[in-house]
């Protein structure tokens, strides 16, 4: 009898300790890396300036890059070839849906660089060098009369730009459920 009780208690002890160990031993299979490993992989360029590469460029330099890579869809002067490709002009006063162009709608200049670098040109995304991405960003902002033709656009000058519709947005990110 005494022996059986000991065995039962021992069995319970073993079962419980296994449970405890299991609850602590979760699968953890991530491989440690460094931010330096992600240079060229992490393309996120934030409004704060985080993630912008070194270098820079001007609209004057960007015109040629734009004419070769962008004008076929966005038009010689950013007037577009269909609704989604218009990047210059528009306003937030006229009747009807706004054109949502860079100059009239986009709240952050950082988004222009971020989007061009990651997603443009549409037929060959990520084919521009960082220099070219700065140059084209400058040219798009110049066509929208936001910077001058010879303004040097780099990480510092880009994030300092106040976009015309920057105050046109109501942040609802705190609403997670209705």
């Amino acid at each position: 009898m005494y022996k059986e009780v000991v065995i039962i208690f021992f069995a319970i002890f073993v079962a419980l300790s296994t449970l405890v160990v299991n609850s602590q031993e979760r699968v953890r299979l991530g491989t440690p890396i460094t931010e330096a490993d992600l240079e060229g992989f992490d393309l996120i360029a934030e409004p704060s300036g985080t993630g912008f590469p070194p270098g820079g460029g001007t609209a004057r330099q960007g015109k040629e890059v734009y004419d070769i890579n962008c004008a076929v869809c966005h038009g010689a002067d950013g007037e577009g070839t269909s609704g989604n490709t218009i990047i210059v002009g528009g306003d937030m006063q006229s009747e009807g849906p706004p054109l949502r162009t860079v100059g009239s709608y986009w709240p952050y200049a950082s988004t222009v660089f971020d989007f061009i670098r990651r997603a443009m040109p549409a037929t060959a995304p990520k084919s521009l060098t960082n220099e070219q991405a700065y140059q084209v960003t400058a040219y798009v902002l110049f066509m929208n009369e936001i910077i001058g033709e010879d303004t040097e656009l780099n990480a510092d000058t880009l994030i300092a730009i106040e976009m015309p519709n920057a105050n046109g947005f109501i942040d609802r990110s705190h609403i997670h459920s209705n």
Binding site: E46, P98, T111, D114, A119, K126, H176, S177
Partner: protein, 423 residues
């Protein structure tokens, strides 16, 4: 029986489902007013050819009957200047239950569907973490997973309704950017724990491995709450069009934020302000200000049968059915009207009634051959009621058409033809 006395529950023919049950129990004649006998109707009871010849054997991957193969998604023509962009819509009017088959789940792509070799795919977690990490697909399959049934709806679904027109619209063409599946994957919180989120991280930026490197920002509270890295959809690996080998799944929120082909999660102080959360998916209002980060999808429902371009062949009893969903909880109730919203009756919930999932509703309706306007409106577990189109137009106009969850009205004319209508 010259006249049946239906147990009416609302105007213009909506009847109690108890009536149908009592028919079944007592055997009072047919539900539809069919009076032609089988022989007179020319029904052939000879043994059919398929009962006389063995069919083909088992197959490696199933396909629908060739008689229903036309129940397909619809999608736009290819666009040379926007390769791989666009969407495909689920054939809601042909589906039943709550779960969308994987091959019919709606799609929206911003630069096409990448052909990803999982052995060459990385999932990186970096930014404001104690230890940046990279995960590979085979290792992620070893993690403890959860399974949840969730709807997914594009923010642009039903948008055309706010602009008007679309009299020839179908449930699919107007509302087909919503689907529902059982998603299986790893709670994002588990991987975030492993990397160790720093206290100053308030957002994360999620990026896909498609050609657009599509990115979206998500507040950290939501990310830790119920976001998952989905590896399986209805039991099989997520299809390439849904993000193979892995996608983010953000329950209840606008579809675009559930980033497909997920390859990077970066913890940040602020939202990254990607193109698709600034220029796109923001809602411009009457006064030209714009809502940004409209996350939860509204409380919504839709009658899928009868619906646009269907026709009722003769007066009689029809089973009105549809789906309801809410980004803020489960569906508590669905009401149906057959008289354009003057009177309403509760529909029955059929099958699953889960949090943030499509919920099937049904109610019998005796069509008398006259004109009718069929509508449904959902009420969710938070008490939110689906609004009318007029209410949405009054609140924010139709300058932008994302996040439309207004009541859909289907008109039935005296020929039994069903079409989209505004009431």
């Amino acid at each position: 029986m010259p006249h049946k006395i239906y147990d009416k529950v609302a105007g213009n023919g909506l009847i109690s489902r108890r009536y149908l049950l009592s028919i079944g129990a007592t055997g009072i004649g047919a539900v539809a007013s069919s009076t032609v006998l089988g022989a007179d109707a020319g029904i052939n009871f000879e043994i059919p050819s398929w009962s006389r010849t063995p069919g083909p054997g088992a197959s490696a991957y199933g396909a629908p009957s060739r008689h229903t193969q036309h129940f397909q998604r619809t999608h736009g023509a290819p666009n040379a200047t926007y390769p791989g962009g666009g969407s495909s819509r689920s054939p809601l009017q042909h589906l039943q239950g709550s779960i969308t088959p994987n091959s019919l789940h709606f799609e929206r792509h911003h630069a096409g569907i990448p052909d990803i070799d999982p052995s060459g795919h990385h999932l990186v977690i970096n930014g404001l973490v104690r230890q940046p990490l990279v995960f590979n697909y085979e290792d992620l399959l070893k993690y403890e997973m959860i399974s949840r049934v969730y709807f997914l709806e594009c923010a642009g679904n039903s948008g055309a309704l706010l602009r008007g027109g679309n009299e020839d619209g179908t449930a699919q063409s107007l509302h087909g950017l919503v689907s529902c599946a059982e998603w299986t994957g790893i709670p994002l919180s588990a991987l975030l724990d492993e990397a160790g989120v720093l206290p100053e991280a308030k957002w994360l930026a999620a990026v896909g491995a498609d050609a657009a490197s599509m990115g979206r920002s998500i507040p950290i509270d939501k990310a830790i709450d119920d976001v998952m890295i989905a590896l399986f959809q209805n039991g099989e690996p997520v299809m390439p069009g849904q993000g193979f080998p892995m996608r983010l799944f953000v329950p209840g929120w606008e579809g675009n934020i559930s980033v497909k082909w997920l390859t990077q999660i970066k913890l940040t102080r602020e939202a990254a302000q990607f193109r698709d959360e600034t220029s796109k998916y923001s809602d411009t209002l009457h006064d030209r200000s714009s809502y940004q980060f409209t996350f939860p999808m509204g409380t919504k429902s839709l009658i899928t049968s009868p619906s646009g371009q269907m026709s009722l062949d003769r007066p009689g009893i029809y089973q009105v059915t549809g789906v309801a969903w809410s980004g803020s909880g489960s569906i508590r109730r669905v009401e149906v009207s057959a008289d354009g919203g003057q009177t309403w009756a509760d529909a029955a919930i059929q099958g699953l009634q889960l949090d943030k999932a499509l919920t099937r509703f049904t109610i019998p309706w005796a069509w008398d051959g006259g004109s009718a306007v069929l509508q449904s409106r959902a009420i969710d577990s938070q008490g939110n009621m689906q609004p009318t189109r007029d209410a949405i137009l009054a609140e924010r106009g139709n300058i932008s058409t994302y996040h439309n969850h207004c009541i859909q009205s289907w008109s039935v004319n005296s020929f039994g033809e069903v079409s989209n209508v505004y009431v």
